[in-house]
C-alpha cells in the first residue's frame, strides 16, 4: 500500500520532465559519469553542442564561450552526485547551472563589457558587409540585454538562444508556465522599449 502511494507520487513528480520530442540521457549514464571517463565523454557528446551554442550566443565571444562551457561541465561533474532525476530532468538541471555560470561571467565583467567586432570570434558571420552589419546589431542586442533585470535576461536567453520551449524555461527558472510566458513577453517589451531609444530602432 505504502509503496504504491510513493510510486504514484513519484510518477506525478516526473510528469513535468516528459517533454515530447526531447530525449534525456539514461540516469545510469549520468551516475556512471561520476567515475567513468567513457561515460563522461558520452555525456559531454550529448550536451556540449547545445550548451556551447547557448553560451556562445549569450556571451558573444568564441573564446569566452569555450571557457564558460568548460566551467559549466566542471560544475556539472562536481555536482553529479547530488543530481536527482526525480526533482528535475538532466536538461533542466544543466541549463540551470549554465545560466548561473553565465550570470557569474557577466558579474565578473560587469565593469568592462567589450563588444568589439574584431574580438567576437564569429568568423562565419564576418563574411561580407551584411555579415559585419548583422554581427554589429547582434552584439548591440547583447549589450541591451545586459541592461535588463537578470530575470528577463535569463528568460529571453533560454528561449531565444537556448531554443527552449516555454515549459522548459519555466522548469529551468523554477516558475510556472504562466509566469514564464509573462516574463518572456515583459522581457521582449522591455527590450523593445530600450532599443527604440537607440540606434537599433530601425532594425527592430
Amino acid at each position: 500500500m505504502t509503496d504504491g502511494r510513493i510510486e504514484k507520487r513519484e510518477e506525478r513528480k516526473r510528469e513535468f520532465v516528459v517533454i515530447p520530442g526531447k530525449s534525456e540521457p539514461e540516469e545510469a549514464l549520468v551516475q556512471e559519469a561520476i567515475t567513468s571517463p567513457e561515460a563522461l565523454e558520452e555525456l559531454c557528446d550529448l550536451y556540449v553542442p547545445r550548451i556551447y551554442n547557448f553560451v556562445l550566443k549569450r556571451v558573444g565571444k568564441v573564446q569566452d564561450a569555450e571557457d564558460v562551457t568548460s566551467t559549466v561541465f566542471e560544475k556539472v561533474l562536481l555536482n553529479l552526485g547530488s543530481f536527482d532525476g526525480r526533482k528535475a530532468s538532466f536538461s533542466t538541471w544543466i541549463f540551470r547551472i549554465t545560466i548561473n555560470t553565465v550570470t557569474d561571467y557577466y558579474r565578473g565583467r560587469a565593469r568592462r563589457r567589450e563588444t568589439s567586432l574584431e574580438d567576437s570570434g564569429f568568423e562565419v558571420l564576418l563574411e561580407g558587409d551584411s555579415g559585419v552589419e548583422r554581427l554589429g546589431s547582434y552584439l548591440a542586442v547583447l549589450d541591451l540585454l545586459a541592461g535588463l533585470p537578470p530575470k528577463y535576461q535569463e528568460a529571453l536567453s533560454l528561449r531565444y538562444f537556448g531554443g527552449l520551449k516555454v515549459l522548459e524555461v519555466a522548469e529551468v527558472l523554477g516558475i510556472s508556465e504562466t509566469a514564464a510566458s509573462k516574463r518572456i513577453l515583459r522581457g521582449l517589451e522591455e527590450l523593445r522599449r530600450i532599443a527604440s531609444t537607440g540606434a537599433l530602432d530601425g532594425l527592430l
Binding site: E114, S116, V166, S181
Partner: protein, 512 residues
Amino acid sequence: MDLPRGYWRVRRRIKYFEGVDAGHPMAEALRELAPPDSEMSAEARERMMDRLLFVQRSVTPGKGKRGAPKWRYALVPAAALVLITALVLLILFPGGQKSAPQRRHARLAELDGYIEVLKPGGSWHRVKKDERLEVGCVIRSGPRSYVSVALPEGSFMRLTDGSEARIKSLGARSVAVEHIEGSTYHRVRKGTGYTVIDGDVSLRALGTAFNVENRVPKQLEIVTIENAVEVEVGSHEPIKVSQGEVMVVAMTGEKKAEKQPVSRERLEEERLYTSAKKDAEAGNPTGIYQQLDVPMDQNAQKGSEPTSPQSKLVISLGAVASETGVSLNWGVSGEGDYDELSLLRSETSAPSFPDNEIARYSDVSMTSATDNSLLQEHTYQYQLVAINGSSRVAYSNTVVVTVPKPQPKPESASVSLNARVSGGGVLLEWSVTGAGRFDGFMVERVVEKAPPGSATPPGTSSVKRIASSDVLYSYQDNYVAPGHSYSYRVGLLVEGSVMIYSKTATIEVPAK
C-alpha cells in the same frame, strides 16, 4: 507506441504556451540575429576533456583512472634494480658526486586534497607532502584542494583549488613562476627577484605579497596585499600596483587594464582570505588586511550582519573619489521590498549599522549621493543597507576609497605610445602615467607616404575617439593599406578635450 504517462496533457500545454510570443517583432529579431549554431573547436574541446578527466580523478581517487596496463607493475622491481645499481656505482666511484651540478628544488610544504604534478618528460601523477619539484614542473590542484610550495630561497607560493602553475626557474636570488589557471598567492622573500608570468603579462616583485587570479575568462587580476608589484603588459610601460590596489588586465586581443582600490569583499573572499590568513600565521605582515582592520578570524568576520533570509535584493555600490569628496552611485536589483536606504561610512573598520549611518533616504528611487565632509588622503569605507520597516533586508558591497591630494599639474601626465605592424594592421599600445582622472583617448592618424594613385594620399588624416579610463590600452588599426606609411599620436581626453598628446610614432605597412 508506449508513450510516457501524461504525454498528451504536456503536449497540449506546450502547444498553448508556445504561441505566446508568436509574431512579436523583438522575438523574431532575436531569432534572426542570433548566429547559427557552430561547433566548439577541437582544441578547446580537448582542453576541456583533459580538465574534466582530471577533476574526475580528483574527486574519485583511484576510481576514475583509465585502466593502467598490468605490465606497468613490472616497472617497480625494474626501477628498484636500477636504483640499487646506481647506489653500487656511487659507492665504487665516489668521485662522480663532485662533478654533479647543484640543483635547486621547490618543496610541497603543505597540501590538502588532490594535487598532481607533471614533471618534464613525464606524465601527471598524484603527489604527497614534502615531494620535491624541479624546474619545469607543472603543479595543479583539484576541487576543494590546495597546496603550498616552499621555494628554495625562502619565498612561497600557494595554489588554491582548481589552480595550475609552472616553475620556470629557481635561482639563488631569483624565481620565475608561470601562472596558468585559477589563483596563486605569492609571498616573496626580501631580496629575491620574483617574476610571475601569464601570457604576455609579467609581474615583478621585491619583498611583497600578492595574489594572481584568472578565474573570470580572459581576465587577469592582480591584488597587492603588501608593498608593490610592477606589472608589464606586452610592450607597455610597467604599471605599479601598490598595497591595497587591484589591477585587472583584459587578456583579449586589445589589451586593457584597470587599477583601483581593492574592495573589502574581495579581501574577504574565501580563497584570498585563506591564503592571506596562512601567510599571517607564518608570521608575515598582512598589509592591506591590517590597514583596513580586516580581522584574521574567519568566524568573526563572516556573516556578522543579519539580513532577512527571504530577501533576494542585490545592491551594487560604486564610488569615485576626487579631491573635493566622494561620489557614490548604486543600483538595486532582484526581488524584495524595502522602504528606506541607509548609507554607512567608516574610516578604520568595516561599516556597521546603525553606528556608522551617515544618511538615510526614504526616496528609494535615488541612485547617487555625494559626500563632501571628508579629509584628503584619508581612506573611507562605504556600504548601503536596504531597510524594510525595522529590519535590514540587504547589504551592498563595501567600497573602499581614498580621497586624493589636489591633482598634480597637468604637465606631469604623459602618454607613452608604441606602434608595430601586426596581423596585416597596425597595433598601437599606449600607457598613461601621472594623470588623475581622464575620460578617454583621441587617436590621430596621418598618411605620411603612399604609392601613386592611392585612395589615401599623403596628408590624409583620420581620428578615432575611445571612451576609456584604462591606464594602458591596445588598439588594432586594421584599416591600413599595404605600402603606406602612417604617423600616429594619442591624445588624453579630459572633459572632452585633449589635455596632452603622446609623441608621434611613424610606421610603414609593408607592400604585399
